[in-house]
Amino acid sequence: MKLVTAIIKPARLDAVKTAVLAAGVEGATVTDVRGFGRQKGKKEVYRGTVYEPDLLQKIRIEIAVEDADVEQVVEAIRAAARSGEIGDGKIFITPLDDVLRIRTGERGTTAL
């Protein structure tokens, strides 16, 4: 199993959620995060002072998936999260040794 973790723009959350559900994902966990990278903040003026916000609002989505589904899910996220502008974000794929469903105690892919 793999853990697919995507960092996306907040405005894309709804679209990504819809896309991964369509791709067969049954659950996901969402965190509000901030990020920095190539994308720069829009210059803003606050009380006459020009500045650039350095940390931008992002959303982190974590999805545990079976190995077989990884590419499909990654592609669903990519397509839904993409606006084509710098700052669209990243998808990280990391190994997942095991999963347990707390309610039933099931382990492995059946627990997803």
């Binding site: 003026v45 606050y46 009380r47 006459g48 002072t49 940390l55």
Partner: protein
């Protein structure tokens, strides 16, 4: 009752109550004035009701400031505002009032005495009449109350500028001196009938100094004290980097800051309207109405001017500057809310809004860290409002206004500097860098203003 006693009584009555319409046959004569007891109650009500809404300005300043500081200092600013209003009330009772109003005509300082109500003068018919003629026909306590809430205003200004880095108790020590000594002494020069109202002053500078409701006496005074405090304390850590960059530290709750501004606007009707000091006659009632209108128009113009100016200068309307614009407009009209025509009031207020917009960045360029923009709004607009009085009031003189403003500025600046530096060396006024980093709420109070909210 015999005819004679009836007539005697009548004669007295006509003197006491109907003095004005001596030519009462004439329908075009001015209306008979209200009777003296009624006037007394009206005057007292003006102070009490005006005082109540000015008292509420303490909440306005608190909300404005709590909305413009960062979350980690929000509880501390609440404590400070609550405490400064309390300290102001206690000090003005113990010291302030008599330092202010106990001054001799043309004098420089009043007397050192605890205040106590004294209504003996108005207990007799003639005494009351004389008091009304002198403009003191009201309950002495209502006057104290009204003056006290003014003092608190000056202290509130200081707390905003110095937020996020000043320690609580030293701040309150300064407030005690400001409200008990510094403010009363300078105010005695004008409102106590001191030297700024002396004949020699008028002869020398073209007119007495004129400051109707306190553009200088309250607002610039608070602003001067704040400015010196800002210099004594230095800016917040990280606010200005060596390369000249200014780091914005945005206010944590603009809705609360907006609420605070509305409360201040409301309170200003009491502030300026109550400064008419009388409401018992037709002409006083008309004057208070005029003051309400000019006060409101100046604030409205201040808002619109600040909005237009930020739009043009920065490409976007800046809400926080618009809020300062309202205050700037209000402070600007405070020196003379009665004489201006409405268009003059609008202009005076609009310039106030522009002053604020232009000077907020200037202070940053000078690395003077004024957290809520109190120095532009209260000091700079206070000065503007004071200096522009002769524009609408022919009895005032530009020179007299400037001399008065400078004198008070010099006095307040000097005294404040002495107190700030004394406190600095005696006990320290500034929170440690570490306390500043974690925030004064946790460092000084051991709690958080918004403990459950996730903060970035």
């Amino acid at each position: 009752m015999t005819l004679k006693s009836a007539l005697a009584a009548f004669g007295a009555v006509s003197f006491a109550v109907f003095a004005a319409p001596a030519f009462a046959q004439d329908a075009a004569a001015p209306p008979a004035p209200a009777d003296d007891a009624t006037i007394f109650v009206f005057n007292t009500m003006l102070f009490l009701i005006g005082g109540m809404v000015v008292m509420f300005m303490a909440a306005g300043f608190c909300m404005l400031e709590v909305g413009l500081v960062r979350t980690k200092n929000a509880a501390t600013i609440c404590v400070k505002n609550l405490a400064l209003y309390s300290v102001a009330g206690l000090m003005f009772w113990l010291l302030g009032y008599n330092l202010l109003y106990g001054v001799e005509d043309g004098g420089f300082i009043g007397s050192f005495a605890v205040w106590g109500a004294d209504d003996a003068a108005t207990q007799s018919r003639d005494g009351l009449r004389a008091a009304l003629d002198e403009g003191t026909g009201y309950a002495s306590g209502s006057d104290w109350f009204f003056q006290m809430v003014f003092v608190a205003t000056a202290a509130s200004i200081v707390s905003g500028t110095l937020a996020e880095r000043i320690r609580l108790w030293p701040f309150l020590a300064f407030v005690a001196v400001l409200t008990g000594v510094i403010y009363p002494i300078q105010a005695s020069w004008e409102w106590g009938g001191g030297w700024l109202n002396a004949e020699w002053y008028a002869n020398l500078f073209g007119a007495e100094f004129s400051d109707f409701a306190g553009s200088t006496l309250v607002h610039a005074t608070g602003g001067f004290a704040a400015l010196v405090g800002a210099l004594a304390l230095g800016p917040r850590t990280g606010k200005y980097s060596e390369n000249g960059a200014v780091r914005p530290m945005p206010g944590s709750s603009l809705p609360l800051a907006t609420l605070g501004t509305f409360i201040l606007w409301l309170g200003w009707f009491g502030f300026n309207g109550g400064s008419q000091l009388a409401l018992g006659t037709i002409s006083d009632a008309i004057d208070v109405s005029t003051i309400f209108i000019n006060t409101n128009i100046a604030a409205a113009a201040g808002v619109m001017a600040a909005m237009a100016a930020t739009q043009m200068l920065f490409g976007k309307v800046d809400l926080t500057v618009a809020l300062n614009g309202a205050i700037g407009g209000l402070v600007s009209i405070t020196a003379e809310p009665l004489a201006p025509a409405i268009w003059q009031a609008a202009m005076i207020g609009a310039v106030g809004g522009i002053i604020v917009t232009l000077t907020v960045p200037v202070l940053d360029a000078l690395k003077i860290d004024d957290v809520v923009g109190a120095i532009p709004a209260h000091l700079f607009c206070g000065a503007w409002g004071t200096l522009i009085v002769p524009f609408s009031n022919a009895d005032a003189s530009y020179v007299a206004q400037a001399v008065g403003l400078l004198s008070i500025g010099l006095f307040v600046t000097t005294m404040s500097a002495i107190v700030w530096f004394a406190l600095k060396f005696a006990v320290g006024v500034r929170a440690s860098a570490e306390d500043e980093a974690v925030g004064l709420d946790v460092a000084e109070l051991g709690l958080e203003a918004y403990p459950e909210f996730a903060v970035r």
